[in-house]
Symmetry: C2
Subunit: 339 residues, 2 copies
């Protein structure tokens, strides 16, 4: 069996294991939105339907459920907490697309493009509010605290990024602060809230939080790698987008740090000069390659994934073999995903 | 004593009674934001400081506190719940100013103007999140439910307004639905949450909710009257703004309903024609006056205020004379305010 076939098989198995769960998550969201939107404006209902049911991976609710199962929780009450994280995620995407003036999302017009900016801002506010309501009423104040810590960190991460726009000397540390806030802490929170709902021990809760943090960080590094190395047909995003936006991500930061004075100067010119940036992507790509910026970034992601998986070792009970296997599979999928 | 001096005296007394409370509210917000923003991005801290401490009336937290006092609550724990409503209000203003592309707010540059749209959207999200955290952790799930019901109604009200933009046949019913969602339900929620925190009886809670709903509705009617009849120097807003935006508010709706065919046709023309709208404000004003649109709108507000005040009669205990007097004063102030 070739490595590629192995990867494909692993992916198939993972998807088969996840599929029914994703369907249940979407069912829970439809049911809840029907309840929440019972007396809501029909335009709002249409926007929510359009913006939420768009083929998303449902990673966040999945993590809540798996973490809860790992800590022994049975039954379906956990879905109320799980979907709150998908709502929050959707709310963030609604607002992000307004902020970035993005026209498309997952290959179709973004909410702001399809319904206008106002609708996207307000729809996001509605989902934000609903998500906190679900967390507060089904998870109590401990869950709400974890949740709000993560949402505040997201806003913080955005502000850090905003302050550092076009800062070509962005440090690795700042890069990791941003992705920790923007992505990783929320994944840690999903796992923690799931564990909490199951009445987990502090040790279990910590292991799952560490899993989420590592997974989220690795996920974002791979995202940033795909921006350079991905296949636009697969990712649905133009290759080199971050570079065109002068966004400093790990491959570029790593190369910049390692480069000799001449190469660093050249990279800076390619980034900062409006004309050079348009035409010089392949030259910049080659310079990053020269200093192994891609390879070193991928190694970082691999180490994080290995650490995420290792943390799951404490869940050795026979009864949780299935959710442990899925969490391992998800972590490995992060490294092999192509979109 | 002339009527005007009487009004001025009443206003002076009200402000003297409220002043120390407003200071305590602002102190509580400063303390909480210091806590919340302890590890937050410095840019975020600056934006919050700029956007929140701008001379606001603090009506919402005031209502929470007064409602709680009316139901017998002592001590300062209520401030944590009270300030949540001011955060939510501020978050709404941040987002509203983005939506309306407003350049000023209370006579200085709006947050979006001073710090950019992204900062205004994210700053609003942060405050929204913080407000729900405070409600959930200090008020429990009952308070969170009331709060979320009100925030969802706000979004709903915005959507209803959005769908009805340039609908010159807007009914009174739709007008009241919009202002109920956008303003009144939140004021009802402030009173309810305050009552709830004090362990009020259902009767007390209902009376206070009714007070808030009536007050909020009257407040918005007067706001819409001031848009026609106010003094721009006092209100800080251009007179006739709603008319220029083709926004159907109560004076215009009332006149339109009562007008004969010829006058109605003329009003519609003045509204719909881009040139006529620019030059025809005083003619439209006169037509509204002809059908007593202003007088009838004011009567509606007066009836609502009277009903709000009457509902307070059940709070007849000697120990709550002071907060009852302030709530009465606030209701009457709504009718006499000039800005």
């Amino acid at each position: 069996m070739t490595e590629e076939t192995g990867t494909n098989n692993a992916k198939k198995q993972l998807m088969a294991a996840i599929g029914p769960e994703v369907e249940k998550i979407e069912g829970a969201m439809r049911q809840d939105l029907q309840l929440a939107a019972d007396q809501a404006d029909p335009l709002l209902v249409e926007i929510l339907d359009y913006g939420i049911f768009n083929g998303g991976k449902r990673l966040r609710p999945l993590l809540v459920i798996l973490a809860a199962r790992l800590c022994g929780l049975q039954g379906d009450k956990i879905y109320d907490l799980a979907i709150a994280f998908e709502y929050l995620h959707a709310a963030t995407l609604f607002h992000d697309d307004v902020i970035d003036r993005a026209d498309t999302r997952r290959g179709k017009p973004s909410v702001n493009k399809a319904f206008g900016e106002i609708a996207a801002i307000l729809g996001g506010d509605f989902l934000h509010s609903r998500s906190m309501f679900l967390i507060g009423s089904h998870g109590g104040s401990a869950a709400l605290e974890i949740f709000c810590h993560a949402t505040n960190a997201m806003v913080d991460g955005e502000f850090l990024q905003l302050r550092n726009a076009r800062n070509y000397n962005l440090s690795e540390e700042d890069y990791f602060s941003v992705i920790r806030g923007k992505t990783a802490l929320l994944l840690a929170a999903t796992c923690e809230v799931g564990a909490l709902a199951a009445g987990a021990t502090p040790e279990q809760q910590q292991a799952l939080s560490r899993y989420g943090l590592n997974l989220g960080t690795a996920f974002q590094i791979v995202d940033d790698l795909l921006d350079y190395q991905g296949d636009a047909k697969q990712t649905g995003k133009a290759v080199g987008n971050d570079f065109q936006e002068e966004k400093m991500t790990l491959p570029l930061i790593t190369a910049m740090t390692a480069a000799n004075a001449g190469d660093k100067k050249r990279l800076l010119f390619l980034l900062a000069d409006d004309e050079a940036r348009q035409t010089g992507f392949s030259e910049a790509f080659a310079l990053i390659e020269k200093y192994n910026g891609f390879g070193l970034s991928r190694s970082r992601a691999e180490i994080l994934v290995a650490d995420a998986v290792a943390g799951l070792d404490i869940f050795s009970d026979e009864s949780v073999v299935h959710p442990v296997r899925i969490l391992r599979g998800l972590a490995e999928y992060v490294l092999t995903r192509e979109k």
